[in-house]
C-alpha cells in the first residue's frame, strides 16, 4: 500500500489513536508506584506518543493524492 494513498484523515486517526493509547499508558505509569512504572512510561508511553506525533507530522508534509475514481 502506497503511503500517499492512505489519506490524511486515516493518518490523523492513526496518530490520534497512538497518542491516546500512549497518554493512557502514561496515566497508568503515574498512578503505579513501582520501579517498572518508569520503564512503562519511557519505553511504552513515550514510544507510542512519539509515534503518534511523528505520524501527525508526516500527515502534514505528505502530499496526499486523492484516490482516482
Amino acid at each position: 500500500m502506497k503511503l500517499s494513498g492512505i489519506g490524511i484523515q486515516r493518518l490523523l486517526q492513526v496518530s490520534s489513536a497512538l497518542v491516546i493509547v500512549g497518554l493512557l499508558v502514561e496515566i497508568v505509569s503515574l498512578l503505579w508506584f513501582h520501579p517498572l512504572s518508569f520503564v512503562l512510561f519511557a519505553f511504552v508511553a513515550g514510544t507510542l506518543v512519539a509515534l503518534g506525533v511523528l505520524t501527525y507530522l508526516v500527515s502534514l508534509v505528505i502530499v496526499v493524492t486523492p484516490p482516482s475514481d
Partner: protein, 204 residues
C-alpha cells in the same frame, strides 16, 4: 502536582479523541490549529511533565526501597546506633528523610542525574531479568566517593574545625583518604547484622 499533570493528560486525550472520531474536522484552519495543539504540542508537554514527575519520584526514599533487594537498606536507616552513618543522618534529618538515599548516593556532577538514571535502568534489568544479588553483597561500583559527603559537609563549621578533618582535608578532597573505608566512619548499611540490631522505631 501529579493531579494537575493527569488533568492535562486527560484534556489531551479528549482533544485527540475528537480527531480520532471526526478527522474531517481538520479541513478548516481553526481545527487545523487545534489538531496541531492536540496531537503535537499537548502530547509533547505531557511527556515532558511525565518525565519530570518520574524523575522526582525516583528520588524518593520509598521508591528506592520498593525494590526487594533494597528493603534491608531501608531497614538499616532505623538502626538505633549513632555509629551507623546512614541511620544517624536519616534519623536526625541531616538529609531529607523522604530523599535519604538520593541525598547520599546521587552523583552531583553535571551528568550525574543522567548517569544515575542509566544506572537505575541497569538495576531494574538485574532485578527483573537477571539474577538479583544478595542484599549484603551489594557494593557501590568504584566505591563510595568522598564528594558525596563533602557536598554537604564542606564549609560546615563543625566539620572544618575538627582537627582530624583539618589535618587531612587535601587528601579527603582528592579522595585519597576515604571517609568510609579509612577506619573513621566505616559503618554504613550493615545489612548483614540487621537481625542483631536494636531499632529506633518499628521497621516499616
Amino acid at each position: 502536582m501529579i493531579g494537575i499533570l493527569i488533568c492535562q493528560i486527560a484534556l489531551s486525550v479528549v482533544l485527540a479523541s475528537v480527531f480520532l472520531i471526526r478527522p474531517s474536522l481538520t479541513s478548516t484552519l481553526g481545527w487545523k490549529i487545534l489538531a496541531f495543539i492536540g496531537l503535537c504540542v499537548l502530547p509533547a508537554l505531557c511527556i515532558v511533565g511525565g518525565m519530570n514527575a518520574h524523575v522526582q519520584r525516583s528520588e524518593q526514599t520509598r521508591f528506592c526501597i520498593s525494590c526487594h533487594v533494597m528493603i534491608p537498606y531501608g531497614q538499616s536507616l532505623y538502626i538505633d546506633d549513632a555509629s551507623h552513618i546512614p541511620a544517624q543522618h536519616f534519623q536526625n534529618h541531616r538529609v531529607p528523610a523522604n530523599m535519604a538515599c538520593y541525598s547520599c548516593h546521587a552523583d552531583y556532577g553535571i551528568y550525574g542525574p543522567l548517569y544515575d538514571k542509566v544506572q537505575g535502568l541497569r538495576r531494574i534489568y538485574i532485578q527483573f531479568v537477571s539474577t538479583p544479588p544478595d542484599p549484603a553483597s551489594i557494593r557501590i561500583q568504584g566505591g563510595f566517593k568522598n564528594a558525596q559527603c563533602l557536598h554537604c559537609h564542606l564549609g560546615a563549621r563543625d566539620f572544618e574545625e575538627n582537627p582530624v578533618h583539618a589535618a587531612m582535608m587535601d587528601t579527603l578532597k582528592s579522595n585519597q583518604t576515604s571517609c568510609l573505608t579509612s577506619g573513621c566512619h566505616d559503618t554504613a548499611h550493615d545489612v548483614a547484622s540487621l537481625s542483631h540490631q536494636k531499632f529506633w522505631k518499628p521497621v516499616q
